[in-house]
Amino acid sequence: MLELIKITKKFGDFCALCDVDLKVGYGEVHTLLGENGAGKSTLMNILCGLYEPTYGEIVFKDCEWHMDSPQTARSIGIAMVHQHFMLIEAMSVLENIMLCALEEKGVLLDAAEVTKKVTEIQKLYDLKVDLHEMVNNLSVGQQQKVEIIKALYNDAELLILDEPTAVLTDEEAQGLFRIIKKLTEQNKSVIFISHKLKEVMQISDKITVLRRGRTVVTVNACDYSADELANLMVGEKVAAKAYKKVRKKDEVIYELQNVSYHKQSKHGGLSGINLKVHKGEILGVAGVDGNGQSQLADILTGIQKPEEGKRIYEGIDANRYRIIDFIREGVAHIPEDRNKMGLIGGMDVRDNLVLKDMEDARFSKASGKFLLKKNMQEYAEEMKEKYDIRCSSIQEEVRNLSGGNQQKIILARELERNPKFIVAMHPTRGLDIGAANFIHDSLIRARDAGSAVVVVSADIDEVIKVADRIIVMFEGKIMGEVPGENPDMNKISSMMGGKEYERSDC
């Protein structure tokens, strides 16, 4: 159906894609696998007309095409579901779909006609969404369905799904896979972009591995195991790492007693949280996103104050601590959204690295009034080496760095302060395997040095990998606890679904 021949895309001197070939057959699920920055998204943006390739040929259904705009791609039947949805939140589902029907005849909007066609599509592919609901009231999974309906409405024959499961729960992801099956049954093809190996194995017919802008290999999914694919992707042997788990319990450093916050809100509050965190352990917080994890992190780091209950840090009532008090007392925070909370995008690497230590005598005179640029410079160079931050220079604005390198900056800033207590929210979200391993190693090192660490993640594999003790959150409550060593998976998933278990010791 589709053939890409020697596609190359250069951004200035940087070669994002280099002689990439790709063949996709009818009714095929073809996965593009690669680490972040391997060129998957660039390739897809070329295919859907957002970028023009520097050179190379695109052959679709035996014709060569010059993709100069998204309309060209759409008109020949290529549609993309972007990682960040192209939906207008302030409009209804129907209005969003009607936006794809602008080229049809007539000046006026014809809601009845569009509804008719959409209902047919919904029946055929089992895509249930209320057409009159506003998009911002829909769950992420439903929004994704709207995107797929949009594509099908334009008679797309090749659907590109850019990391579609990154934002979905496991159950929603299975629903998506059922839809993909239905699509391929109708002889439509799907290009699936992901770096989650498990699901790639489950859904793909063929897999093309990209590394640093080049195709490594194209294989049949059934011929390879997940480990072999991981190796192809990273380019070196990665053994699935197993960390030693800690079982003995040291003294308690942080305790929450019956803490509540916005109790009524199931997906943005906490109710009756009891929690003890010990020195030298990693406590994993699992659960589907949006069940109070963000609020828990906010309470622990002082961004929010508990409405009820007590917060005890190092044996002292810390209910009235401000954020700055927690920082001074050695609480580190790796926030969930590095661009919104963790870093200042328009500032350079050096300045971001010392943000929390500006009052320190190392970096300034008279506690923060006069900065010592030279010392900051030296320190930043040192951190760049130590944490392997890849940037053209420490003067580069951090917004231009990749997610992994941004996260390393945060890690350097937080861990170099020798924190006693670390809250890490989704520390490896959106990062490739190499960077994720680096982050996990660093957290384990901090634990072994005696810090208490709370790792919150929606990725259950990540929690199991690093945590010594795992709690599961659901609708603002803690459902129960399992040990980090050989955890009972059935128990974890039933807790994620809302079943509550007794806890012996909080």
């Binding site: 957002l50 970028y51 998204p70 192209m86 207008i88 936006l99 602008l102």
Partner: protein, 294 residues
């Protein structure tokens, strides 16, 4: 106080409010239209000033208020193209350009008036147009804009640009074209609003005749939640307040007139602080759109 609740007072109030309404409504509708496409134009006051002086001068020399108002419309359109070019083509900061438009517009109006009045003798007067012509036009404009935004394909695309331009672009919508349309309509409506002031509201020109109506119109857009009906209600509310303060000045001399003059603006502030809810503003409002940026 008994003099307030008479039939004469109330009819007078109504008539005054209807006279106040068109410039506010035209300006606010134009601005709402512009913001629905992502262009915040705080230069309404300046554009209205240009419309006012052009409308007056042309009307004075030709002695036809309708030709005068047409000239005001064209001048508004023309002067707003400066804003359009800077913000759409060069991605300049909209607030700064809008501010510059205000200063430019008001200064330009004074310059033109001084030049013209030097060559003529006596107080300049023009003929008046029909009192309700522009009112009808402005109400029709609200309906037409509502119809365009909510009932046509082009209007749906237009709103998409104001909410999420990148998505609009992937759907093949020409963003620049929509934004130029937004600026043209806004310029035309503000030009008419200004020309109304010098051709209907009064038939001469005085410095500072727009007297903050451009800013009130901005507030009306927010107060009206960026919707045609809301903007109409907000403008009616502000027009009534303005009429009321004028009437009260005449009716009751014991209240200092400065206080009464302040009332509409005070109410604007109060209205905005109590009724303003986040979330109804077009998402991409005020942000320049740069292609191929990530």
């Amino acid at each position: 106080m008994s003099s307030i609740l008479t039939v004469a007072f109330l009819t007078g109030l109504l008539v005054a409010a209807l006279r106040m309404l068109p410039p506010l409504l035209l300006g606010a509708t134009g601005e709402m239209f512009s913001e629905r496409c992502g262009l915040t134009n705080i230069g309404l006051e300046g554009i209205m000033s240009v419309g006012a002086i052009t409308g007056f001068v042309v009307s004075y020399f030709i002695q036809n208020p309708y030709v005068g108002m047409l000239a005001g419309v064209l001048s508004g359109l023309l002067v707003n193209m400066i804003y359009a070019f800077l913000t759409i083509q060069l991605n300049a900061d909209q607030v700064i350009v809008g501010n510059a438009m205000n200063i430019l517009g008001m200064a330009l109006a004074s310059l033109i008036y001084t030049t013209v009045s030097k060559s003529q003798s006596g107080q300049l007067q023009s003929v008046t147009a029909d009192n309700y012509f522009v009112l009808v036009v402005s109400l029709a404009v609200v309906v037409i804009i509502w119809f365009y935004l909510y009932k046509t394909k082009s209007g749906l695309a237009f709103r998409a640009v104001g909410e999420y331009p990148r998505a609009a672009e992937t759907l093949g919508i020409n963003i620049q074209k929509k934004k130029y349309l937004a600026c043209s309509v806004n310029g035309i409506l503000c030009g008419l609003a200004g020309a109304y002031l010098t051709n209907v509201y009064i038939t001469s020109y005085v410095s500072g005749i727009v007297s903050g109506r451009g800013y009130i119109a901005l507030a009306a857009v927010i107060f009206g939640k960026w919707k045609p009906k809301g903007v109409l209600l907000a403008c009616t509310f502000f027009a009534f307040l303005d009429a009321l303060q004028l009437r009260l000045q005449v009716a009751d001399a014991s209240i200092p007139y400065q206080f009464l003059q302040m009332l509409p603006y005070l109410c604007t502030l109060l209205a905005l602080s109590f009724f303003m809810k986040p979330g109804s503003e077009p998402k991409a409002n005020g942000k320049p759109y740069i292609r191929e940026s990530r």
